[in-house]
């Protein structure tokens, strides 16, 4: 994914084309040491540093890469959101103790990011605004208290450059100086339409007087089991053991709340920072650990573990209430009702072979191919419509009727000789015609009336064929014959 990066010691910059030619959009430390700045024109930068290496900035790739990093961050917190084009927000409420405290967690994130080649700044605060400000304008591990916030520059308020410039012109250079002003005067001066211009709103958000939502990319499910591993695991057996433990935990939680999983996602975090996920669907809610494990385990076979998996999360994305079931005295604890085990069979087939058990459902229509639909086994169970035709129907029906050549004694008489699939058969018995007219109330154009015959050849094999169109029709092409089905 990554292109060969130039050595860190050489000045390097990404450029993007703006209104007035190419401008620098990002630079490395070496370039910054030469005094280059973000937003500078490339021509000016080249004049100052003639051997500046440049590359076109691809903003869309930045976005995908940032989203990838967000997904990776889900190992620390389930509530992660991208912020702007270069930031990530994590809600770590109740989490840091799992990683050995706030400081240790920040250190861990920073070290891991550094290992992947990202330079990062991060900080922790009670509000999104404060965390944003501290991460960008204060050194790492600055405590988020009133003093540290007051000393931050005005730009840390997430306001646009115009608003910041106005404030600086007024001599308000830090947040602290802004806080000492009366609210009413600030409100009068900055009544911008957009939030970036409204200093007061940003100030309230920073202090937590105004709530600001955090929209996670993947809102966490209420039922999930997570495990971080000491060492990356690469073997199938190892992964299976962890998956089994996760499934047990998840099913225990589900059962306690009388819920059953309908859709599951197993997220696997690779040690190189990428993430993969294995989805599984269920046709009926279930919290049977054995069944869920049987659905997920085969999927591990085709898994690319990379250099090893070092964290796993099993989430129940969709759940439904499950009635508690009373088992009889004679029943084995594990025994299921036939309907339940049929649903489990369906799940296994669905997750392994990508096919579902189908039930043939009758539809009120005269046209044979429309008289029936194959419905998924669960939908069919709900709408069991019985509608039987009185006429003889074959056992097998072709999806597309196959053209055939037929010789009949009289033009609209029963067939005498049938050539189908390049074999000619002599017809000895026939029943028909059964005329099926097109359904004019459906706006299907070009359909013609059909005459169906059930025929038997001299060897006792049976076919169901029709003549498409009538000889009596005026200005029409002559009727054609089709084999529509086979019968026993």
């Amino acid at each position: 994914m990554r292109a060969p990066t130039p050595p860190r010691s050489l000045p390097f910059a990404l450029v993007e084309s703006g209104a007035k030619g190419l401008r620098l959009s990002a630079l490395n430390q070496a370039a910054r040491n030469f005094g280059l700045m973000r937003g500078q024109r490339l021509a000016d930068a080249r004049a100052a540093v003639p051997d500046l290496l440049t590359e076109q900035h691809e903003a869309d790739k930045d976005v995908t890469s940032l989203l990838g990093l967000c997904r990776w961050m889900e190992r620390y917190s389930p509530w992660v959101a991208p912020d702007g084009r270069d930031g990530i927000l994590l809600d770590v409420t109740g989490i840091p103790h799992l990683f050995g405290g706030e400081a240790a967690m920040q250190k861990d994130i920073q070290n891991k990011l550094m290992a992947y080649g990202f330079s990062s700044r991060l900080n922790l605060a009670e509000t999104i605004g404060a965390a944003w400000a501290l991460a960008r304008y204060a050194p790492t591990l600055t405590p988020a208290n009133a003093e540290s916030l007051k000393s931050l520059p005005i730009e840390a308020l997430r306001i646009d450059t115009n608003a910041a410039r106005t404030l600086r012109r007024l001599g308000l250079k830090t947040i602290g100086s802004l806080l000492s002003l009366p609210r009413s005067s600030l409100a009068r001066r900055f009544r911008g339409e957009s939030i970036d211009e409204n200093v007061l709103v940003r100030l309230d958000e920073l202090q937590g007087y105004r709530h600001e939502p955090l929209n996670a990319i993947n809102p966490p499910s209420s039922f999930m089991a997570h495990r971080t591993l000491m060492e990356p695991v690469i073997t199938h057996e190892g992964l299976q053991a962890i998956l089994s433990a996760l499934t047990q935990n998840l099913c225990h939680d589900l059962a306690a709340k009388q819920q059953g999983a309908l859709r599951l996602i197993l997220k696997l975090f690779r040690s190189d920072g990428s993430r993969t996920q294995l989805p599984a669907g269920l046709s009926a809610p279930s919290h049977d650990a054995g069944h869920i494990l049987r659905l997920l385990t085969p999927k591990l076979d085709s898994l690319d573990a990379g250099f090893g998996i070092d964290a796993m999360t099993l989430e129940a994305r969709e759940t439904a209430t499950m009635a508690e079931r009373q088992y009889g005295f004679a029943d084995d604890v594990k025994s299921h009702s036939p309907q339940q085990s049929l649903a489990q069979l369906n799940d296994r087939v669905m997750n392994r072979q990508d096919q579902t058990l189908m039930q043939l459902q009758a539809v009120k229509s005269h046209v044979p191919e429309r008289a029936e639909v194959a419905a998924g086994f669960n939908e069919a169970a709900q709408a069991a419509l019985t509608y039987a035709t009185q006429n003889q129907r074959p056992l097998l029906v072709f999806e597309h009727p196959e053209p055939a050549a037929v010789i009949a004694a009289v033009p609209d008489g029963p067939p005498m000789r049938l050539t189908w699939r390049r074999v000619t058969r002599r017809i000895v018995k026939s029943q028909g015609p059964e005329r099926i007219a097109p359904e004019w109330w459906k706006l299907a154009t070009g359909e013609r009336p059909r005459d169906y015959y059930a025929i038997e050849d001299d060897q006792g094999r049976r076919y169901w064929l029709y003549r498409d169109g009538l000889y009596s029709e005026e200005n029409a092409t002559p009727p054609k014959w089709f084999v529509h089905g086979l019968s026993a």
């Binding site: 069979l345 043939l360 038997e456 026993a488």
Partner: protein, 325 residues
């Protein structure tokens, strides 16, 4: 356990422990009597043992090392309801005492390419019988293979209803590869939630191992497995019965000489465990409410397999394909 000592042990006992003690110089008449008595007892016990294995009489079966063996035909097979058979004396005579194995595997192959729809219908007719077993509430599943669907078409629910099968008790699934099909069939049989599982079988993928797996799964889930072969197949499988189906010209209904009558099939039962092979020409009375088989008149006498005492008329030449089960 004590009441039924293992016959082999009974025979071996004196041989192992006696020699040191029996140091008689010559045999006496009494000894001869004893020997005969023992031999008779041994034969009787062996017969009893075999009968237990075959499930003809009830009782525990002792295997090697004092372990209990399961009978080939599970006892529940005989207890629940009537036997799975055709309701046609001529055929049922050749089936084992317990009827067709309700938790076993059965092969059905068409005689020629064009007989496949007939083989499929026969499989459904057999499965229909399986569904009629009293107390059976489970549905039927047909695992189809994509190439077969293109070749012979989709199963049609209205057609199934004319065959007497309710569409509520019929499920189908179409799979892409034969390997997936065997996997699905095995899972379905093992799950125990289906009365019978029918599958389109491709002979080139059919091995003794796959069919053995299927028959073990069938025994585990107490459901019947039916393999409908795409073409005529004579290789080794671990099925309890093997049928071959060919179409025969049907007899026109009495009032309409020109229209096809009930389907007529020539059936060859070429292998059956604990039964006798045979061949018959039957009519499937699918339009009757009972959906039963009848022997095709005029042909039935001659078409019966030789060896049944009731036969009058010329014996048909046994086909080379026939093998004793």
């Amino acid at each position: 356990m004590r009441n039924h000592p293992m016959p082999i042990m009974a025979a071996a006992g004196p041989g192992i422990f006696a020699p040191g003690l029996c140091l008689l110089p010559h045999e006496t008449e009494e000894d001869h009597q004893d020997e005969r008595q023992r031999a008779r007892l041994l034969v009787a016990r062996l017969r009893d043992h075999i009968a237990r294995i075959e499930g003809r009489i009830e009782g525990p079966i002792e295997g090697r090392g004092g372990k209990q063996q399961t009978p080939i035909f599970s006892r529940s097979d005989r207890r629940a309801g009537p036997r799975w058979c055709f309701g046609l004396e001529a055929i049922d005579r050749n089936l084992p005492e317990t009827g067709l194995a309700r938790a076993g595997l059965h092969d059905i192959s068409p005689h020629k390419y064009g007989d496949t729809p007939a083989a499929m219908a026969f499989a459904l007719a057999l499965a229909h019988g399986r569904l009629q077993v009293t107390g059976e509430k489970r549905p039927l599943l047909w695992c189809r293979i994509e190439t077969e669907v293109r070749e012979h078409g989709n199963l049609y629910g209205h057609g199934l209803e004319t065959l007497g099968l309710s569409r509520q008790r019929f499920l189908t699934v179409t799979l892409k590869k034969p390997v997936s099909l065997y996997w699905a069939m095995e899972e379905a049989l093992k799950s125990g939630c289906l009365a019978a599982v029918i599958g389109d079988a491709a002979p080139q993928h059919e091995t003794l191992t796959t069919t053995r797996r299927l028959s073990l799964a069938a025994a585990q889930g107490k459901s019947a497995g039916l393999l409908v072969f795409i073409r005529n197949y004579n290789g080794a499988t671990s099925s309890t019965s093997r049928w071959q189906v060919a179409t025969a010209p049907s007899q026109a209904p009495p009032l309409d000489g020109k229209s096809p009558g009930p389907p007529s099939w020539h059936l060859i039962l070429s292998r059956i465990r604990s039964g006798k092979p045979g061949q018959w020409t039957v009519n499937w009375q699918k339009h009757h409410a009972t959906h039963h088989f009848t022997l095709a008149p005029g042909l039935s006498g001659g078409a019966l397999y030789p060896g049944t005492p009731e036969i009058a008329g010329p014996h048909p030449t046994p086909e080379p394909a026939l093998r004793a089960g």
